[in-house]
Symmetry: C2
Subunit: 299 residues, 2 copies
């Protein structure tokens, strides 16, 4: 599956870049091809100062080499060498009425003496809103449920739960956002061949952006105030906290000497930390916090 998936993520990166370009004609791309000293490399497409997207990234990386001990522990598997490839996406919109979007599709192989010992897919997609529009969240969850249902009937429920568990900002006791899908260690099994997982990856990848772009188009003309932007910047601080303290993808990148600018392209553009900021009772800002405290079922 290595070759097939590797080709698919290249195709997907180009496709999504073109979709973003079509949607946000003002966005500038910085495209960097990079090599990893100890094996592999990647292509980073960074988005900056668009009309719709203030910052973002569409990254493909394909890295391999010796497996660091600290990583093997963290993967719940073993091997002397690894191969990892994936595409990761992050879009930080300018308008606080549009949520931040994140998605990731990845494939791993572990080797011992040159022989494949283990291999699996992982990935997910999730939304981080600043203001709650329940219709948008329901629309997004319905769309990703449909992709899961096409594969296996109970997987939406399973992956939605994993997403709520994973994107939990433990030290704040709140979710990063309103969830989506998260899955990992999707291996060959009696229920699913590795090629079934691959088909799911392709289906998810190809349909990933549709519900998000629907929301972007629906909200992009909405007006917003300075106060809305301040709230967005404070909430982006929570995003930074999650990514730097808890996110395993970031830790994996840092521990395997990944390209730092590609890993941290996920960081929001402008961020604020205000001591002990509490939104007004009954406000839209407080409504968001309440939802993040207790993840709910959106369908």
């Amino acid at each position: 599956m290595k070759k097939e998936f590797s080709e698919f993520i290249d195709f997907l990166q180009e496709k999504i870049k073109n979709e973003i370009k079509a949607l946000d004609t003002n966005s500038k791309f910085k495209i960097d091809k990079w090599d990893r000293e100890s094996g592999g490399g990647g292509l980073t497409i960074a988005i900056e100062n668009g009309n719709l997207f203030e910052k973002g990234g569409v990254n493909v990386s394909k890295v391999f080499g010796d497996l660091p001990k600290s990583i093997s522990k963290f993967l719940n598997s073993s091997g002397s060498d690894f191969y990892a490839c994936g595409i990761s996406l992050i879009l930080h919109p300018k308008n606080p009425m549009i949520p931040t979007f994140h998605a990731n599709l990845r494939y791993f192989e572990l080797y011992e003496n040159g022989i494949v010992k283990d291999s699996w897919f992982g990935g997910g997609v999730d939304l981080t809103p600043y203001y709650i529009f329940e219709d948008d969240i329901i629309f997004f969850h319905k769309a990703i449920k449909k992709i899961c249902d096409n594969f296996r009937p109970n997987y939406y429920e399973k992956f939605k739960k994993k997403c709520d568990d994973y994107f939990w900002n433990e030290h704040r006791n709140e979710a990063r956002g309103v969830g989506g899908l998260f899955f990992d260690h999707c291996r060959e099994s009696p229920e699913n061949k590795l090629k079934d997982w691959f088909s799911f990856m392709v289906d998810l990848g190809n349909n990933l952006m549709t519900p998000y772009f629907h929301i972007v188009n629906k909200r992009k003309e909405m007006s917003f105030t300075k106060k809305n932007v301040e709230w967005q910047q404070i909430r982006r601080g929570r995003y930074v906290e999650f990514n730097l303290i808890h996110d395993k993808g970031t830790v994996f990148g840092l521990k395997t000497n990944g390209r730092i600018e590609s890993i941290l392209v996920s960081m929001p553009p402008k961020v604020k930390w205000v001591y002990s900021f509490n939104p007004e009772k009954g406000s839209e800002e407080e409504k968001l916090l309440k939802i993040l405290k207790t993840p709910r079922n959106w369908i």
Copy 2:
């Protein structure tokens, strides 16, 4: 030493608050007394929107209780219960020509069956500039060297080296700032009684702010541009990265269920992440980066 140090940090917190008030008459303080559910509490003084200081904090915390396993490993010592108290200071100036200031003085006790098994002091002080004024950095290092020299002749060199090692942003391969002092596990020994360390703590605490306030006064009227502020905000991003990825104090606070707003009062107010930002060749911004790549001796 528990009682003496605990009283000293209360005294010091009040003293420094008054010094900040005298220097920056426009600064507003938010003062929060807090309790820790599993033992102890603290007093947080947060500074906001001053003329000189955009954000900052003067924190005292005194916490105790069961020692989490994860922490005992990380302390290189053991015990079933702990007591920890300390004062920590952070000042993020508005003017990018003034460095960010950080200092911390702390005391630990570990117990087994109610009996003290181990106790030590730790702490440090360091500067994080946005623009390099060599005179200021040398002045600061000379002042803290004098405090060390009054205690033991070789300690400045030792603690300066530890500071360079500790405030190293590994994933960026650069120092957080231009260093200062860092020391930990300062125990009773043939060379120093615990009360000798206590005297050093008192001396350092009482003289901590003088060199920094000297720099603040020297630089506060300097003009600056929008570009200078953007650089300051980008560099503040590195400060966030260090504190959330590498800083043991932050990890300790998060793992012992510290008060999150008090721990993260250290976060800068306004921060920017720009993909792959590289300052112009020969610029003042590039000069800073060069210095951060290879820590130097300032005296």
